[in-house]
């Protein structure tokens, strides 16, 4: 009853203040535009746009940042589908499927499906959280060091399998190279300098944003621009929104992916980046034989699975951020920074010190979700028209954005060099048939895996392996799942290929 009263109070507060609506709409618009620009990411949008909230009141600032978060997550899908450059690693499954559809002249419908799935995903995430906040938090808190290590490892493994379906081992090699990149810098436990070759620039490690921009932005420019007949996106937009029947057909995968996105997204640190790949993988396994054949070549159901999970984890990632003060992902960390800027102390006492704030944020997410849907529908046609311009015109114009994007995160030119090298390496890896998504994901998850493995081993030193496997059942299940993922990739998929 107390919760209901708080929800009512927050609803009244929002209804009475038009500035909150204006801030939310502005945030969503800026977020979509930012995310849609190839080479600029959600994290960067969140980080840079915090500066604009300095002069705003607490509630207006929170509403603005929620709008930016929701808008930029979807905006990333626009550049992923139409230019083959994702804004974040979570948008990679959408990119794989959406770009294939866009090249067939179905970019408008691919984006329309992605928007509808995003809208639905946000709803599933928010409703599940409001209804099951304690349960989701309890589940998320079962992930301790050992489980976090296994989750990170599994995320990389599954991403490798999914992005290199015919030869999963190449996806894993790509992921493992990403792990090696992530180890560069001062080690988090002892401060020992690893693989820095004596360069103090490398002591801070290699950031994932310049790597992402290089691998997907610059490598795409190097790949596409010199082609005599670069791939073209047909400018005929055609139908944009999927029919009601189609949406009904995807209710089951949507709900499944929404639950996956919310729960995995709520796991601090590793969750949000793994969620969309996990939902994408589960979706392929559960799809009909005919639909499974389309996976990787342009499947609407695959887009639904990835986008629902991707957006459900927006709500999910907010939970550990608010309740524990541990951000679910980099974008949630930016929200945390914006809250701290407004003297909001997050953590277990948030309900005591700021009663109703959690509900305010979830209502804000719902409003942002509506604005996102409306704005996105309005933007599909102009975006398809814009990105159907010749690649020989678009790609050179993306280059300064890539340089500025890589530089702007830390205002450090070293990141531009990292972007350049990543782009060249990405081009070579593509030539040799290695997928790039596992590499980026591993650069993000590597430090989490490294730190948590060593912490877990330190705890296990006294307990013994058998006791660990028996006592930590969630960890044991995850370990079996990781082993199965490798077994499936090496043996079963090979057998299926041989028999076909």
């Amino acid at each position: 009853m107390e919760a209901l009263a708080q929800v009512q109070e927050q609803l009244l507060l929002i209804a009475q203040n038009p500035w909150l609506w204006v801030a939310c709409l502005s945030g969503v618009s800026l977020g979509i535009l930012w995310g849609a620009m190839p080479g600029l990411s959600t994290t960067m949008a969140m980080t840079l746009l915090i500066g604009l909230t300095v002069g705003m009141s607490q509630t207006v600032a929170i509403m603005f940042m929620l709008g930016v978060y929701t808008g930029s997550v979807f905006g990333g899908a626009i550049s992923a589908v139409l230019v083959n450059i994702p804004g974040t690693p979570d948008a990679v499954p959408t990119m794989i499927e959406g770009y294939a559809l866009a090249r067939r002249g179905e970019g408008g419908l691919a984006l329309g499906t992605a928007i509808s799935a995003s809208f639905l995903g946000n709803w599933v995430g928010i409703l599940l959280l409001i209804a099951f906040i304690p349960a989701v938090l309890f589940l998320a808190l079962q992930f301790r060091s050992w489980e976090m290590f296994l989750l990170s490892l599994w995320g990389i493994a599954i991403c490798g399998s999914m992005s290199s379906m015919e030869v999963p081992i190449k996806g894993w090699i790509s992921g493992w190279i990403g792990l090696l990149v992530s180890f560069v810098g001062l080690d988090a436990i002892h401060g020992v300098s690893r693989f820095t070759l004596g360069s103090f620039y490398l002591d801070d490690g290699i950031g994932f944003i310049p790597v992402l921009i290089g691998l997907f932005g610059l490598a795409e420019i190097l790949r596409v621009l010199p082609q005599k007949s670069p791939p073209k996106i047909p400018s005929d937009v055609g139908r944009v929104l999927p029919s009601l029947n189609t949406l009904i057909r995807y209710v089951k995968p949507s709900l499944r992916s929404g639950i996956i996105g919310t729960i995995i997204g709520a796991i601090p640190g590793a969750g949000a980046n793994v969620a969309s790949f996990f939902a994408y993988d589960v979706g392929r396994r559960r799809a009909s034989k005919e639909e499974r054949g389309k996976w990787g070549k342009g499947s609407y159901e695959a887009i639904v699975c990835a986008e629902v999970a991707n957006n459900a984890n927006v709500g999910g990632s907010m939970l550990p951020t608010l309740a524990l003060g541990i951000p679910g992902n980099a974008a949630a960390a930016a929200i945390l920074a914006a809250l701290q800027l407004k003297n909001v102390v997050v953590g277990p006492l948030i309900q005591v010190e700021n009663p109703g704030l959690i509900y305010f944020i979830y209502i804000g997410l719902i409003i942002a979700n509506f604005f996102m849907y409306g704005m996105a529908i309005a933007l599909i046609r102009p975006c398809v028209k814009l990105f159907s311009l010749p690649k020989t015109l678009l790609m050179p114009l993306i280059l300064p954005v890539c340089i500025l994007g890589a530089f702007a995160v830390n205002l450090n030119f070293f990141d531009v060099y990292v972007m350049l090298i990543s782009g060249l390496v990405g081009y070579v890896l593509h030539r040799f048939g290695f997928p790039l998504a596992p590499l980026v994901l591993a650069v993000i998850l590597g430090p989490i895996a490294d730190e948590n493995l060593r912490r877990a081993l330190l705890v296990f030193e006294d307990v013994g392996v058998v006791n660990v496997l028996w006592d930590r059942k969630l960890g044991t299940v995850l370990l079996l799942v990781v082993l199965y993922t490798f077994y499936d990739g090496i043996f079963r998929r090979g057998q299926r290929k041989d028999s076909s």
């Binding site: 792990l179 180890f183 436990i189 002892h190 621009l225 082609q227 015109l393 205002l411 030119f413």
Partner: protein, 193 residues
Amino acid sequence: MSTEKVPQPLGEEELEGRPTPNKDLASAAVVVVVAVLTLVFSLRLDVPGSFYTAPGLLPFITGFTLLLMALMLGARAIRAGAKMNVAGLLGISSRMIKGFWSAKNWRRPMLTALVVTYVLLVAFINFELRFPTPLFELQISSYEVISVIMVTWLLRTFWKASLLRCFLTTLITVEALAFVFRYGFGILMPETF
């Protein structure tokens, strides 16, 4: 949901990214070298505390498993018909280098050279021009000047529109971008300071 579409023939994009057994074998050889180097460097790292918290622990495990994966990839490539000899591997490398630099395929090396030059110019040429206006102080950084020149060059080479059109398109895009970043977000333009 999807309407019946005529499947498109494979474009340059798909063909050049298409792996072959020989390419797989060559990449497996490179990955073996990377894995062995990782093993060596991770063993040389200091171990300040317990073995379980050794900074080189996960890098060593990663290097070892990477080595296994590379060997598996190599074995798979040989089973698929790749030639396992040094001359064969060198042949792939030399064919790739020749293909990259051939006179027929001048566009890619030129693009790569232009991109690298662009980044190096932004890194090494630093200046800022300031023009006071009645409303605000107009700033033009070396990044904007270099970007306008280099992107105009790229557009002229690949888009093949008139020089004026390429220049104006670049100028508007770069200045709009710089304006938003500089005045909207207070971000400095790229330079090495």
